[in-house]
């Protein structure tokens, strides 16, 4: 499964960010989400959901081999990760997020919860 | 012919949905307008602001065609 992004449908409501943080951290805190929304306002008036495209560059760069491909998604093993930040630096799409209270960088594990709450078709689950 | 009327809010109980929780199927004469159809169903016209058919707002003089899925909206507005 993959997440298809149709940014023209995004309204910037951040439900995806909320459910992501709830799902992965058990907290109400959209800053701990693996998805963020870029807002280009006042012109041209575009929201862009940003999340991992599963390119694997982070796994290649990880000095301690903490990142591996599990199913369709690259996953960080928090037991191994030293939170060195190299993967965040090399990420070509700036979609590995950091939060002061998170033990590792935050990246999408394709849990699909965001696609379940999105009501505009901006995020949909596809095979 | 058959059309499908959908609504919620105050119109929900008047509509008596039978297809799913929001939808009622209605058998009707071809050419009848929504005013006539709502009248037969006993739904007061003042309770219906307008209809919404295929993404477009329609007034109640709209004459549905076979298979139309029509949302009827009760009035509420404001910023």
């Amino acid at each position: 499964m993959k997440i298809k992004v149709a940014k023209e449908n995004c309204t910037g409501c951040k439900l995806c960010m909320q459910i992501c943080a709830i799902q992965h951290y058990g907290e109400i805190n959209p800053k701990k989400a693996a998805i963020h929304i870029d807002a280009e306002y006042p012109a041209p008036g575009v929201y862009t959901p940003k999340l991992c495209v599963q390119c694997g560059k982070c796994m290649e760069a990880c000095p301690v081999d903490a990142i591996s491909l599990v199913g369709d998604a690259y996953i960080i093993d928090p037991e191994i990760c030293t939170d060195c930040g190299i993967c965040v630096e090399v990420c070509p799409f700036d979609v590995m997020f950091v939060h002061a209270d998170a033990p590792t960088p935050i990246m999408c594990d394709l849990c699909m919860k965001c696609t379940e709450v999105c009501n505009t078709g901006a995020l949909t689950a596809v095979e | 012919m058959i059309i499908y009327l959908r609504s919620g809010r105050k119109l929900h109980d008047l509509l008596k949905p039978d297809v799913d929780q929001y939808t009622r199927h209605v058998e009707m004469q071809e050419g009848a307008t929504l005013v006539e159809i709502l009248g037969e169903l006993g739904i007061p016209l003042v309770m219906v602001a307008f209809a919404f058919v295929d993404g477009k707002v329609r007034k109640l003089d709209y004459a549905p065609t076979d298979g139309d899925v029509i949302t009827i909206q009760s009035p509420v507005a404001g910023g």
């Binding site: 309204t11 907290e27 709450v117 | 707002v57 509420v76 404001g78």
Partner: protein, 638 residues
Amino acid sequence: MNGFGGTILRINMETGEIKRTPTPEKFAREWMGARGFVAKTVYDEVPRDADPLGPENILIMAPGVLTGTFAPAGSKIGFGCISPATNGHADSNMGGHLGAEMKYAGYDMVVFERISPEPVYLYIDDDTIELRSAGDYWGMGSLDLEKRMKDDLGEDFQIATIGPAGENGVVYSCITHDFGRQAGRCGVGAVMGSKKLKAIAIRGTKSIPVHDLPTLTKSTYDIIQRTKTHPLMEPWQKYGTALFVGWSNDHGCFPSRNFQTTYHEGWEGISGEKLAEEILVTHKACFGCWINCGKYSRARIPGKPDIYVEGPEYETIALCGGSCGMTNIHDVAYANYLCDNLGLDTMSGGNTIGFAMECYEKGIITKDDLEGHELRWGNIDDFENVLRMIADRRGIGEVLSHGTKGAAERLGRGTLAFAHQAKGMEFSGYDTRWYSAQLLSYCTSDIGAHHNRSWAITADIEIGQDTPEGKAAVVIYLQHIRPLFDTWCCCRLFWGEVDVTAEEHVDTIGYLTGWDVTFEECMKISEKIWNLTRSHYIERNGGPGRQFDVAPARQLEEKVPSGPAEGQRVGVENFEYMLDDYYYNRGWDKNGNPTREVLEILGLPHVADNLEKAGLLGEPFEDGVPKVRGQRLKPKAM
């Protein structure tokens, strides 16, 4: 404390001192948030003779219990103070993302006291709180400044700003956020300007503690799935509130040319459909909302710069559009943009300019007053000229900067009869001559004529448009339930439109906080707030209360000249009947003054004491006040 940020901030703008105190749970439970926090704090702290634009007024910014949580559309934040428009309690709220951000930074209320010697903005980055110089920002437009501050501070800051109108003390100045969400009413922007506070920038990265996250998550998740297929979801998503422009015209409640009539010839040119066809750029949502009623637009007018604006939504279309005689959606969007960037409420602003256009038509305002310009119905250049004069308080703009009531008092010549306001705040976008419950709603409202205190148009239709009977009790109920959403701080659209019940919102509060809160308890809180702000208004302005519940003469006496409501008017007798009925049903005396009995039931004995001292306490009821004050409308047809 579960469900809240945990800290209240007090900022002395004069000295720069910043105090942090923990949010007391008793205070949170008893007042719930935004509107409640404001009502209690302003009542307790602002001297009764304080000038609304002077140092003794305070400005409050407060989200509510549901803000920033996974509640449906928990997006709201309230601002409050004493209003320079009404000289009474003021609260005004907005959606967007500011309220949520504030709670993620850990704050439930900020109280701004006194006046800063220099222009400043408030900077909050979690625990870092600073008043920073806004010298470079002073004078900038609201929208221009938001962009500038995003560039200066970072995209992830949420920003609220005022425009030049707020700096200059125009009494209907607003606070703007998210490029088009406003705390528009009551002149909160003018009070912010009076404190030399140009903007607020917040970034918060903390979590909001929750009592029962799994249940909260499941509840909202299920509501999302259920409402996604609701038949009314699509029209709302597609057109937003502008959907109702046609309906209002068909039902004779749309203001045309300063409420001269109630069917606007050419409304099709400024309808929701026209908006979607011609100017829509994208749909735009507030935090945590999947209805996305916000419409983001681009207007193109020959000879003017292309502009982007959020809207125009129904109220702006009615008041900048219909009431100013416009028939082109590009013009309305441009007017909306001008109001937003200059920092003026599109509702009171549009209403006031419609009033001025009628004055011009009647020869009461002339070209000489307008620096050589005209002020013709539907002319966007004329609209722009006078709007800029208002924002700068230049010439006739100074007169109009006081709103329709203040302007009518200055202009004289019978203009008060067509100044559409109550207590100094302008009507929302509904004429009431065929809708007496709506007129009663406007005129008894604590903050003035605002539809979000009670929107009773459908109640009028269901009870009967030709009778004043049975209106008062329903208006009271609406005045309790609608502003309750401004206390909880979630959007009322889910309740009003897609069948999420008020009880479901109350359950959400329970999952969040762990309180065993009920709908009845919340409604009692709302009634308590209403009685508190009413008492506050009377105390500040002298009584009796009835003398302030006044309707514009046009709504009472002039018959609608055209359209579906032709020949309709409310009539003085009917209005007085409804007032009597209203006061009785509230447990207030015939003078419109709250009684000790009702204030004590609501836990406000000290308010009764204060009214008594001022000689304004209501005469007691011989048989006791009504046990149930306000009555839910049961539609006849159901």
